[in-house]
Symmetry: C2
Subunit: 348 residues, 2 copies
C-alpha cells in the first residue's frame, strides 16, 4: 500500500520522520514549529512541505512531557445541563481566551466521587489550576491539590478558608430574598425544595430562608416544610412536589425551589396535580435562567450575574498564577436580585 493512498496510518508520523523527509535534523523541525524566524526561508519551506506531505500533527503528550506544564485549567461544575452553569462556563472561557488558555470542563453531577475522579484526571494531565463548584462537604482534597502546586478557585461558593479564593453570589441573601418576598405576600406556610446539605449553595440558601422566617417572627416548625431531593434538576423538582402533595398536614401555600431547573420540574408536577399557580401555590425559583420569564406561568426567580461569575473566577485564577506568592487570596461576592413574576404574584 502506498503512502498516499493508505486507508489508515500505521503510525503517526513523528518529528523525526519529518526531519528525515526534509533532510534536516529534528532540532531544525522543532525550530520551524516554534521559532520560525531562526530558520532560513529555504529550509523552512522544505520542512513545511514535508509536514504537509506527511500530514504531521504534533504529539501533545511528548510536548507536555518536556514542557512540564500546559496552558490549561480545569473546571468542574455541578451540572453542565443546567443553563446557569453553561452561562458561567461561557464567562470562564471568555476570560481564558484572552490569555490563550484552554479549558477542560466537566460536570460532577453533584457526586463527590465523580468530582474527585475528574480532579485527579485534571492533575494527571498537568493543568495549572482548577475552578470547582464543590459537591462534597470537605475541601481537604482541594487543599491538598493546592499544596501540590495547582491553583484552586472556588466557583459559585464562598471559601471557608483564608488561603483559597472564591467567587460567589450571596446565597444567604438570595434565600432570604425569596422568602421575604413570599412572606410579604402573606404566606405563612412555605415549602422549601432543597438539595443535600453537602452542597454549600443548599446550606446557604437554607440559612437565608431561616433568617427571613425569623425576621418575620415565624417559627420554622410551623412555617417551613422542607423537602430534600437527590439531584437539583427537573426530575428532582417533580419528585419533591410529589412527595409534598402526598404528605400529611396542612399543604403549604407557597414554595421556594433551590434552583430554576428544580422549579421547572415542580411546576410540571403541580400542573399535573391540578394545583393552580399562584392561587393555590406560589412558586419562586433561583438563577433566573433564560426561559424563566417565558413559562406558562412566568417564574419569579433570584437572578445571579452568571457570566461575570465565571469571568471573575477565571480572572482570579490567572492572576493567582501570574502574581505567584504576592497574590492576595480573596472572597469575591456578588449580590443577587429578586425578579418578581406571575408564579408568585398575580399582579406582576
Amino acid at each position: 500500500m502506498s503512502t498516499t493512498t493508505r486507508g489508515r496510518a500505521d503510525r503517526r508520523p513523528s518529528i523525526t520522520d519529518v526531519a528525515k523527509r526534509a533532510g534536516v535534523s529534528v532540532g531544525t523541525v522543532s525550530n520551524v514549529l516554534n521559532r520560525p524566524d531562526q530558520v532560513s526561508d529555504s529550509t523552512r519551506d522544505r520542512v513545511l512541505v514535508a509536514i504537509e506531505e506527511l500530514q504531521f500533527v504534533r504529539n501533545a503528550s511528548a510536548r507536555q512531557l518536556r514542557a512540564g506544564t500546559i496552558q490549561t485549567v480545569g473546571a468542574i461544575v455541578l451540572d453542565i445541563a443546567n443553563p446557569f452553569f453553561t452561562e458561567v462556563a461561557r464567562g470562564v472561557e471568555d476570560r481564558l481566551a484572552a490569555d490563550e488558555y484552554t479549558l477542560m470542563l466537566s460536570s460532577s453531577d453533584e457526586d463527590p466521587e465523580r468530582e474527585a475522579r475528574y480532579l485527579r484526571l485534571f492533575e494527571e494531565h498537568g493543568v495549572q489550576g482548577v475552578m470547582v463548584t464543590p459537591s462534597a462537604g470537605s475541601l481537604d482534597g482541594l487543599l491538598a491539590l493546592r499544596d501540590r502546586g495547582i491553583d484552586v478557585v472556588l466557583l459559585d461558593t464562598t471559601s471557608p478558608v483564608d488561603d483559597i479564593s472564591s467567587v460567589a453570589v450571596d446565597d444567604v441573601r438570595g434565600g432570604a430574598l425569596a422568602v421575604e418576598h413570599l412572606v410579604s405576600l402573606g404566606h405563612t406556610r412555605i415549602a422549601f425544595i432543597n438539595g443535600p446539605q453537602t452542597i454549600k449553595q443548599c446550606v446557604d440558601r437554607r440559612e437565608g430562608v431561616l433568617a427571613a422566617l425569623a425576621a418575620a417572627g415565624l417559627d420554622p416548625a410551623d412555617a417551613l416544610v422542607e423537602i430534600t431531593i437527590g439531584s437539583l434538576n427537573a426530575e428532582g423538582g417533580e419528585d419533591g412536589v410529589n412527595r409534598l402533595l402526598d404528605a400529611d398536614g396542612d399543604r403549604p401555600t407557597a414554595m421556594f425551589c433551590v434552583n430554576d431547573l428544580t422549579a421547572l420540574g415542580a411546576l410540571r408536577a403541580l400542573r399535573a396535580h391540578g394545583v393552580a399557580i399562584p392561587a393555590e401555590m406560589a412558586v419562586v425559583g433561583y438563577d433566573d435562567v433564560v426561559f424563566a420569564s417565558m413559562l406558562t406561568v412566568p417564574l419569579t426567580s433570584v437572578r445571579q450575574p452568571t457570566h461575570q461569575l465565571g469571568w471573575t473566577a477565571a480572572d482570579l485564577l490567572l492572576r493567582q498564577r501570574s502574581e505567584g506568592a504576592s497574590f492576595q487570596h480573596q472572597r469575591i461576592q456578588f449580590q443577587p436580585e429578586l425578579v418578581v413574576r406571575g408564579s408568585s404574584d398575580p399582579s406582576a
Copy 2:
C-alpha cells in the same frame, strides 16, 4: 522548608522519586501501579507508603507518550448550551462509560474554525475517535482525520459519503412534518427562520419544508418567507423575528423555527411586538427540549430521540474501533415525531 509543610511543590514527584524513597527500582513502582499481583506484599506496601507520603500523582503525558494511545474520544457539537446537545452528550457518555472510555467535549458554536481547532487539539492529544456535528460544509478535514487513523462518526447529520458512519434523525422528514402541520391548519404564508446553509440540519429541514409546500401545491415564492440567522439560539430567533416584522409585504401567519432555542427567542420577540400566538402567528419549533411544553404558549415541536442519538453514535464509534477492517460503515437514521401544542393549534 520541610517536605511536609511546604506551601507549594517545587516539582511534581515522579515515579523515580517514589522508587528512591521506597528503596526499589522504577520498574517495581510501575509494577505496583499496573500489575500489583506481580509484586510481593511487603514491597508493594513500602511503595504504596512512599506514594502516599510523596503525594505522587501519575503523569498522564508520560504515560500516553509511551502507550501511544488513550482511552478517550472527542465530541464536537454545535452548541453545548442547547439542551438538545447536552442530552445527546449524556447519551454519548453513558455508552462510553460502559467501555471505560472518557470524553472530551467541545462546542464549535457553529464556527468551522473553532471546529477545526478543536479537532486538531483532539488529534494532538491522541484521541482514538471523534464524533462531530459538522458546522462546515466540507468533510475534507474529517476524511483526512480518518485517513490518519482516527475514527469518525457524524453526529446528528447523515453522512454524505459511504466510508464514514453517521447517526442522525431524518431532518427532511422533520421539516416536512412541521410544514405539513401548518398547511393542514390552513396557513398559506409561512416564515422559516433558518440557520446558514453550511449546516446540514438547516439544509435538510429546508428541503423538507420545500417538499411539504410542493406536496400542498403551494409556490414557495408566495408561500415561504425565509429568514437566515447567524446563530441557532434565542438571540438568533429574536433577531429573525425583528427582521421579519420590519420587512415589507404580507406578514406570514405561521412560522417554523429551525430549533427550539430559536423558537424561544422568536416567541420572546413576538410577545414584545404584541403579536398574538397562535392567532396572529402560529409557531413550530424543533427538538422538543425539556421546557417546550411549559412555555406561556406551549410550543409545538418536532421531537428527536436525543439520548439514543448520542448513545448510538458512541456505540458505532467503539464498535468501529474494535471490529477494525471488518466494520461496515452505516448510516443510522431515526424518525422524528411531531408534538402538537398551543403555539400552533389553539385546540391542542
